[in-house]
């Protein structure tokens, strides 16, 4: 049976809470209300106020509380209402969560999960739409995942909760309604493994979040002109799956990275750098990035649609790259 990504997150939380009594859910309005985007709906009814509870509107302390309780053996799953608010707790993440293991030379760990919806497309304005994953990827000591299918939403959430390290688990708002089959039982998607969503020989498109679907649309479009694009869904932003990326690029000789974050300093830069270091000889074209412009997310639909990277840009960019064919 196909379920939505939102539902996959919800069901997986419930399953893991049943399995492991140390797992609990905290955040603003996550209990009886079920979360602003209804991802935790129903958990309170099943697990009660000791396992699912509302916190004050205090991003710093709720993040610290997740860290501290994780250090004492609990398995907190914290919801930050929108990823745009994670920067409020950035010190806790960067200077506490990420550094604890090292600060104890491995004698301590922080097995927490910070879940947050993110991304544009809902016309919610510059403070509720950002793609901040690249900042988190520059923080050693944490992991960052970004499921794009209900199956991976489950698999990565299980992996994240069971990981002894702090994991930021990012849910793109426009993917909550995405439907797909979800395997029963202990289905774990390993952190650090990308997925090839479509095989192709002419060009590799590495994408994440909302851009995976757009890349697949673009690939379909390109197919009409005889171009076979391979689409790699990162799934994990940190640590990056270098092997899958490099293998694909070595096969196709062309790399286009697509993400919704603004271009400068986005995760596309790191991917380009990895390829330029390890597989430059394999390349037959410049490495290109399709990303949002270096700009806040505008509110109005006409502007937001212009701002968000679209399949047509991927198609056009891919064609330019293949037009060069200088191999």
């Amino acid at each position: 049976m196909k379920i939505t990504l939102r539902e996959a997150v919800r069901q997986t939380l419930a399953e893991e809470m049943r399995r492991d009594s140390r797992v609990f859910v905290l955040g603003e309005d996550v209990a009886a209300y079920g979360g602003t985007l209804q991802v935790t709906a129903g958990l309170f009814d099943e697990f009660g106020p000791d396992r699912v509870f509302d916190t004050p509107l205090s991003e710093v302390v709720i993040t610290g509380a997740a860290i501290g309780s994780a250090m004492m053996g609990m398995r907190p799953v914290l919801e930050i209402m929108f990823a745009d608010f994670i920067p409020l707790a950035f010190d806790q993440i960067l200077n506490n969560a990420a550094k604890m293991c090292y600060a104890y030379d491995g004698e301590m760990s922080v097995p927490m999960v910070l879940r947050a919806p993110f991304g544009g497309g809902m016309r919610s304005g510059m403070h509720h739409c950002q793609n901040l994953e690249a900042m988190f990827a520059h923080v050693p000591g944490i992991k960052v995942v970004m499921p794009t299918t209900p199956e991976d939403a489950k698999g990565l959430l299980l992996a994240a909760i069971r990981d002894p390290n702090p994991v930021i688990y990012l849910e793109h708002k426009m993917l909550y309604g995405a439907r797909g089959e979800v395997p029963d039982g202990d289905h774990v998607t390993p952190i650090g493994k990308a997925a090839i969503r479509r095989e192709g020989r002419d060009l590799t498109i590495v994408a994440c979040g909302a851009l995976v679907g757009k890349a697949l649309q673009a690939a379909k479009e390109l197919e009409k002109t005889g171009v076979e694009a391979e689409v790699v869904d990162l799934r994990t932003i940190s640590p990056l799956d270098k092997d899958t990326i490099l293998d694909s690029v070595i096969k196709t000789s062309r790399l286009l990275v697509a993400h919704e974050a603004c271009k400068t300093g986005g995760i596309g830069a790191e991917i380009a750098a990895i390829v330029a270091e390890h597989a430059i000889d394999a390349l037959d074209a410049p490495i290109e990035r399709v990303a949002a412009p270096d700009c806040p997310v505008p509110f109005s639909a006409s502007l937001e649609d212009a701002f968000l990277p679209q399949p047509a840009q991927i198609v056009a960019q891919a064609k330019r790259m293949l037009g060069r064919r200088f191999a």
Binding site: G34, D54, P56, L57, C295, F299
Partner: protein, 326 residues
């Protein structure tokens, strides 16, 4: 209260109605044609914005919260601009780049807010700091909710404003809920105002549905602020009639509680005061309502007819160009 003539009272009445009707029309509109800007109506809370803005000068700066819709309009943002903003049109806030919820306008003393709850309080401190350094006496009025009061920014802002004696007036719109979370779940005290003692500034509790009580407290706070005596925290007890937003999946508040607070309508209260004291007759008040309704109708037509912003403007004005004038 001194210096409060009937004209002021009628203005307050008109303002509150303008806020009310604006939000009623927005939420109604949203039910049939979803607005790009999700309404977060402050219906029931209008007395707070009205009572705090009345005494402000054009150079005073307000920093409203999501819920303080009225404050924008009272301070001088036109109904047309506000409504066009909610419709995300080019004639709205920042040519469609920003929501009307958080828009700013330096011409009328409205400072753009943040979608991050209470993150504008530190900015308010900076505004008041500028006034002090410029040896001017404009004030900064920052609105925030009971939920927002638990953010660290609020603490740091109150402490710094108090110790530096900056002219910030902190207006807490305590409507008893942070989305679905009741006050007693997010905070162990009943009065946010008691926190003022911890910063060495006055903290007062007023009936936030009594516009005259709000006005009186604001007047005192502004006098202190302008005299260089520092900040004040005014806590206004109130209630929002509608859900947190028009996308609220559920309203967990008791129906009787909502009903009881609807009885305490701040607009009706002022209307009764005006009528029973013979300060205005029904006809005058009805005329005011008709005028306000016409203004809102006009704003909606304006918003509907305005174009969307041209897509090619999306990435403009991320950085300011060097200017010689400032």
């Amino acid at each position: 209260m001194e210096h409060l003539d009937t004209r002021d009272l009628l203005k307050l009445y008109e303002w509150m109605l303008l806020s009310r009707i604006t939000e009623e029309r927005m939420t109604d509109y949203h039910k049939h044609t979803p607005l790009p800007e999700l309404p977060h109506a402050g219906i029931g809370q209008e007395a707070i914005a009205a009572g705090t803005v009345l005494d402000l000068r054009i150079d005073d700066q307000i920093l409203p919260s999501l819920r303080t819709r009225g404050a924008f309009i009272f301070k001088g943002i036109s109904s047309r601009t506000m409504m066009a903003g909610a419709f995300a049109k080019v004639t709205g806030a920042a040519r469609g780049k920003n929501t009307s919820h958080h828009m700013g306008d330096p011409k009328v003393g409205v400072v753009a807010g943040s979608g991050v709850v209470a993150a504008h309080l530190p900015i308010a401190v900076g505004v008041a700091l500028a006034a002090k350094l410029q040896k001017k006496d404009y004030v900064a009025v920052a609105y925030f909710g009971d939920g927002g009061s638990n953010r660290g920014d609020v603490h740091e802002s109150m402490n710094m404003a108090a110790v530096m004696k900056l002219g910030v007036v902190f207006v807490c719109e305590n409507n008893g809920y942070s989305i679905s979370t009741p006050l007693d779940v997010h905070c162990a005290v009943r009065d946010i105002a008691v926190r003022a003692q911890g910063y060495g500034m006055p903290g007062v509790v007023v009936d936030g549905n009594d516009v005259l009580a709000v006005l009186a407290a604001a007047r005192e706070a502004y006098a202190r602020a302008r005299a260089g005596e520092g900040p004040t925290l005014i806590e206004c007890k109130t209630y929002r009639w509608l859900g947190h937003s028009e996308r609220d999946p559920r309203d967990l508040r008791p129906a009787e509680e909502i009903a009881a607070w609807r009885e305490k309508c701040p607009i009706k209260r002022l209307r009764d005061h005006l009528l029973s004291n013979g300060l205005a007759d029904e006809a005058t008040l009805d005329d005011i309502r008709a005028g306000v309704a016409a203004e809102v109708d006009d704003a909606i037509v304006f918003a509907e007819q305005s174009p969307l912003p041209p897509p090619e403007e999306a990435a403009l004005h991320v950085y300011a160009e060097p200017r010689t004038d400032r």
